[in-house]
Each structure stands twice: as structure tokens, then as C-alpha cells.
Amino acid sequence: MSNLITKYFPFFTDAEVPHTVSARPDTGLYSAKLGIWLFLASEVMLFGGLFSAYIFLRIGAEPGYWPSGLLNVPVGTMNTAILIVSSITVVMAWAALKMRQLGKYKLYMLVTIICGLIFLTVKLSYEWPAKFNHFGVFIRKDAASKYEEFLGNKHLQDAGQNPRWEISGHLLDAPKGSSYSHQAEHNAEHFAHETGRHDAVTPAENDYVIQVDAVNANPSDKENDRPHFWPVPMSTKLAVISAADVESASVFAPRHSTYFATYFLITGLHGLHVLGGILVFLYLWLPFPGGTKLYKTNPEHLANRVEIAGLFWHFVDLVWIFVFPIFYLL
């Protein structure tokens, strides 16, 4: 049995793996570099497919059903800058190893790891949860005229823009039996505490009450026709929407719309790649046999490992540089 393992799975044994430091004569590359580029080629196809799907879904979306301006641009910009900085520090870590400066390598690698952790923390503890507490109601087209003061479609038509079918904001009261009742109750308490108003809960059992976003509070204001870098504070205006007039209603989760389904899929997959990169960097930074301990016996081998991880990290950051504008800006 052990002979079979040694024969067919030599990497499970202590066998010497060739060309970890020197280049293979036939490819001109050390083995891991060829491997990472093959892997990155498959990653290009994965993300390329998702971006293509996004483009076709967006092009095919019915007018007024593809939202914009719902994401926090300053936070996204900060995260982009953090990833760009982390790409610089990982190259510095690699250069430090090439110059045999272990102390500097550890420092730059630590900064890279911290940058990755900040990116993930902001995404998971702030950006995503903020979306899960934001509510959107798509109004049925035949009932839209009843909610003109929140939709502003006459103004949009005059301005030559797509119509608006959604009223969004914080849900303060939900129809009886709704799965959002608990969230609405919590938001209503917060709203009453902030404004001193206790009119958020209506006696009607089939109404949604929403503390609307600025865009729905003043839909005819030309200021709302353009994108904003800084998020516009939410209004204190309330919209009461009958459940009979609602086409669909949900928090800003994947089920809300195709936009958020693709947003969470692509940013989630990207986040998993960031996590994977952080774990590899941690392995190379800590005194594991394949990490900094390798520096004592074969520093060039460690430098090559950092180069491979750095190539992956650059790819992940490059993906974000495409993700950020298409979801946050355009």
C-alpha cells in the first residue's frame, strides 16, 4: 500500500520536488510559477464569466429596475485604496526577501495581512449588514400614480430618464405575518427615539411603512438626478404603501433584485479569494516549516513562494479594480 502511495502520489512522501528554486529548462520557469499562471487563467475564466453575466443582465434589465447609487462609494473607495496599498507592500516584502532582509519582509507582510483583514472586516461588518437593514418596495406599475410623490416619474420623464418603481429606506411597519415584522419593530423604536415621532406604526394590517431615502423624499429635486459621492442622509418622511400595490418587497439581500444577486455573488466570491490570500500570507509569515523557517535553509525558495502568493494577490486586487466601478459608480 505504501509503495503504491509513493509511486502514484509522490508529493505525500518526503520526495524532493524538483524546480522549486531553479527554472525548468523546457519552460524557463520554476514549477510553481507555471502552476500559478495556469490557475490564474482559470480564475480569469471564472470572473470573466461572471462579469459577462452581469453585463448581459444589466443590458437586458427593464427600464427602472436596475438600481444605482445604493452602495457606499466612500467606503468602497477606501477599500480600493487599501487593496492597492497591500499590492505595493507585498512586492516590498518580496523585494526584502530578495535582498535577504528578513525583518523588513516580516514587516511588509504583516502590513499586507492587516490591509486584507481591514478590507474583509469593512465588507462583512459594515457594508453587507447595512444592506441587510435597508428595505426596498417595488410598486406595481398600475399603482405607481398613487405614489407619485415618492417616485417622481413625471419629473424623470421630462428629464428623459428611466422611470423609478422602487421606494426604499428603513422599514418601520410591515404587513401582519411578514418575516420583516421584527426588523420593522426595531427600526420603529429607533425612529421614535431619534425623532420623537410615534406615528410609524399604522392600524392597517396590510401596510408597509418606510422611512424613505432622500431620493424618494424629494424625487423631483434635480440634485437627486445625479450620483453622489458622499451618502445623502435619510429623510424623516414616511411612505405608507398598501401591500396590494406592491410587486415585490425585500431587504437589500440577493432576493431583492438581479442587481443585488450579482453584487453579493461577485463581492462574496472576491471576499473568499481575499480570505484565501490572507491565509497563505499568514502561513508564509509565521514560523512554519514552509514559512519563515524556510528562510534559514533556502531563502530563495521562500522568496519564490512569496512571489507566487503575490501574483495571486495582485490578481485578486485587479478583480476588485473592475468590481468597484461597475457596482459602485456606473
Binding site: 535582498m99 450620483p227 458622499w230 495582485h314 459608480l329
Partner: protein, 61 residues
């Protein structure tokens, strides 16, 4: 392609991204401050790219 070459490509894309975001900020009127900030960031990255090419010549092949 080495990490050095990929890093240069990445910096080039980042410069284009910053410039693009600056144009977006000015053109849409989202924020003039952001527009100027993006221009400065793009220029800083051009400077970094040139400095990286010069310094890495002797260190990384």
C-alpha cells in the same frame, strides 16, 4: 511573467482606474474634491511606478 512585471501592469491599471474615477467625479458632478483627489492619486502612482522601475532594476530580475 514575474511579480515585478505583473506589479507594473497592476500599477498601470490602477492609474487608469484613478483617472477614470476622477473623470466620473467631474463629469457627473458627484464631487469635485474626489475628482482632484483621484488626479493626485494617479500622479502619485505614476511617480511610484517610475521609482519602482528604477529601484527594482538592481534588486529584482
Amino acid at each position: 511573467m514575474s511579480l515585478k512585471a505583473f506589479h507594473l501592469f497592476f500599477i498601470l491599471v490602477s492609474i487608469l482606474f484613478s483617472a477614470g474615477m476622477g473623470i466620473w467625479a467631474f463629469k457627473t458632478g458627484a464631487s469635485d474634491g474626489l475628482g482632484w483627489g483621484c488626479c493626485v492619486a494617479a500622479l502619485l502612482m505614476v511617480g511610484y511606478g517610475v521609482s519602482f522601475v528604477n529601484k527594482s532594476k538592481s534588486i529584482i530580475t
